[in-house]
Assembly symmetry: C2
Homo-oligomer: 453 residues x 2
């Protein structure tokens, strides 16, 4: 039997609509709150930094939203992405489980992030906006937005977390090659940045504050976020829709779907189309959200209203949070170092539909090397968390002798993370623990707001 | 009309055979010569370092050679690769020319190199070999062979050119992640390395000498070369065969086919299937081989017998050469820094079927940035040479008002070359000239051998 089993769709099978899970969720979701008045935030509160078309997507309860043709056209640059059966990994694990992965690393920026970047750049360009600002950690999101802005003729200005700016110059060069301007955050260009000059290494929360501040001051400039918000997760549902069609080609349906979680866009993009079937049709599927033990938002956070950024410029969002002051240890999975999480995803965890699990850095790299040596693709540190969960599940299947079908999201390649692999292979990779004391102090800074049940 | 035009083949359209252009070349090709006796080298002279199956491919005059099923199965990991029409670039250049590119950067190692790496690893494993040695410059070839050895259960030992080993640690980490052992060359593990300790930055020629020496001493260890030899170019012809099928889907046929040339495997892989049509059917097609002005083998070298390595362990090959002592300036297109070239390709240049052109480093990066900002893919510095030639041709077409169809090989992405982009964007990229004095001194070291006509 063939070792390589790949399922490819034709271009016509790029989804025509995004799946809006909001339409299928039972009950009313708690609304975001205005950071000043603590009253429910309406579309007008968001209009200084987002175009109305994206705000309407953010609050829409339509079950499906049509993908504009220029966005589908940009998707054609790398979509549909392949789905693989990991037969070499199955053999390496000696498991009866069938393991599938959906690979988003084939995009020009190397991850799933361009799925929403091109949608956001298109809508802003259509609204007459000239420039987008954003933040980026390790650089996956910033480079995706730089790429998308170039396609739609927008300027792009990125605040990059200081520690990553210093340590990972190549993602910065990538953004600049695509024509973006990149600032080290905290910068002296914003009030938020100047106020945080005591934290020279920066954080995602600070960089968000800087980018939002600049966008709010100029009517022709908007802000763009790479995760957390409903419309961002919405755009990512092309992943799960393609995966459903490809699993049909494979003649199987997943018992378990696994993804890593930072802000939730990769996880939501893969799982929401499958979750809709659970909610609508009662299909039985297990969903595992894999996060870093060093930033255990879903497994150790509290469910409460909190700011999305450090300074407190964004609306208060209902989510599992470690507190907006929480600064996670510098694990290499930069895309998972966020104090909060998508409110939509948090509601699903709260409701028991999604099971979170946390993993230490070294065990995720062990899993990633095992994957690279069997399947040939070197994963980014973020999906390495999903791979660790997959290997655990596959080994459980071997022990129980159970034939299971596991699908996971391989949301990006690790070409820019090889220094981390180097440290792991040399036995020098740090394995930071979560600090209870840091959590307690960060939770003490939670804003006053109505309690969530 | 759509901006993104991509032509995809199904897996069944992965070629079943490699195209052996040897069968169609007029006249007798000058044979390689034994480095000691200067007599034609036979299969037995190569058997200490290559398996007989690859030696037979090397000397075969069969027009097509079947691809073993396990090799096709490994190809399925990333093949067929996409062919794009560069409509955004055409608009940027305001040219009537239609520009197409075949993109090999979707392989796990990020270039065309795995096409031959998996074929060579398979044949060696089938012959009972336990370990492959090789050399690598910037790391594209070494990482491809590390990947392929992992797939077929072989050990892999790589000598990496010292300057690249120091400057480009990420390709080294990539090889190690795939389980290979990597040595800095010149190393103290070989006689060749110890003899060259006066050249601490190393060269491709020295690294080849080291890898060949180790392979020749151990019957269970063979050597693997990533370019130059007939069987290597043969394996790469999957590129051109797919491109022909994809151009048919596009309803066009190229007037001009362009590729970059280091040792010739990318160029041969793309062009040989098209060249066979020129030779067999009299199809009119122009072929342009783009090389660096800092290492202008085809445009400034002499056509003579020379060694493939620095120390003089390999057979003498009939080729355009700058002399095996020539050490090119450290341009970022590490894959193009080789003193010689594929004898097959050199014969085609000699016969006037292929036109070589040389470009300076800065003009190739200017072309690469222009491409990245229109098409969204950041090219490796090697194919940036082809892009420079494409832009020149497209601008000539605009000036003459001529509608031309241009196809080029985008043989790899630039994810590991962003420091070079950084230097270019900062205006700090070196633009080394070719040194006539260096050439004269290197040509003085050409071995005594029969003259070529």
């Amino acid at each position: 039997m063939s070792d390589t089993v790949k399922f490819l769709l034709g271009e016509r099978e790029i989804p025509t609509h995004w799946v809006n899970l909001m339409a299928d969720l039972p009950g009313e979701a708690p609304p975001p709150l205005h950071p000043g008045t603590k009253q429910p935030a309406g579309p007008d509160d968001l209009s200084p930094i987002f175009p109305m078309s994206l705000i309407l997507q953010e609050v829409s309860v339509e079950p499906e939203i049509e993908i504009p043709e220029p966005v589908r056209d940009a998707y054609r640059l790398w979509r549909p992405t392949p789905l693989y059966r990991a037969r070499r990994l199955e053999r390496e694990l000696d498991t009866p489980a069938h393991i599938y992965y959906k690979y988003e690393g084939v995009s020009p920026a190397g991850s799933h992030k361009p799925n929403t970047a091109v949608a956001q750049a298109y809508e802003n360009a259509a609204a007459g906006i000239k420039k987008l600002t954003t933040e980026t950690g390790a650089g996956q999101w910033g480079s995706s937005l730089a790429f998308a802005c170039q396609l739609f003729g927008l300027e792009c200005e990125v605040w990059m977390v200081g520690s990553s700016y210093d340590q990972k110059p190549y993602r910065r060069s990538m953004m600049q090659t695509w024509g973006a301007t990149v600032h080290r955050s905290p910068s002296d260009r914003t009030e938020a940045g100047r106020a945080q000059s005591k934290h020279p290494t920066g954080s995602l929360g600070i960089a968000i504050s800087e980018a939002v501040e600049v966008a709010a001051q100029d009517p022709s400039t908007n802000y763009s976020l790479g995760s957390v918000l409903n419309h961002v997760l919405l755009h990512q549902t092309v992943i799960g829709q393609e995966a459903i069609a490809q699993m049909e080609m494979a003649g199987e349906y997943p018992d378990t779907v696994i993804g890593c979680v930072g802000g939730g866009s990769n996880f939501g993009g893969l799982t929401f189309p499958f979750l809709r079937r659970v909610i609508r049709d009662g299909v039985k599927t297990q969903f595992i959200a894999a996060e870093p033990a060093a930033c255990p938002t879903l497994t150790r956070g509290v469910y409460a209203y909190d700011f999305g950024d450090t300074v407190g410029l964004t609306p208060l969002m209902p989510m599992y949070t470690l507190g907006h002051d929480f600064v996670p240890p510098p694990v290499h999975a930069g895309g998972l170092r966020y104090h909060g999480d998508s409110p939509l995803l948090c509601g699903l965890v709260k409701g028991g539909l999604v099971t979170p699990r946390a993993y230490r850095q070294n065990e995720t790299f062990e899993a990633a090397v095992r994957f690279a040596r069997s399947e040939g693709i070197i994963p980014a540190p973020e999906p390495a968390h999903a791979i660790k969960a997959v290997i655990d599940e596959a080994q459980a299947a071997r022990e129980s002798g159970e034939q299971r079908v596991i699908l996971f999201g391989l949301c990006g390649h690790g070409n820019f993370d090889l220094s981390a692999y180097d440290a792991y292979l040399a036995g020098e990779l740090e394995d930071p623990e979560f600090s209870e004391a840091d959590l307690e102090s960060a939770l003490a800074s939670l804003p006053e707001a109505p309690a969530l049940t």
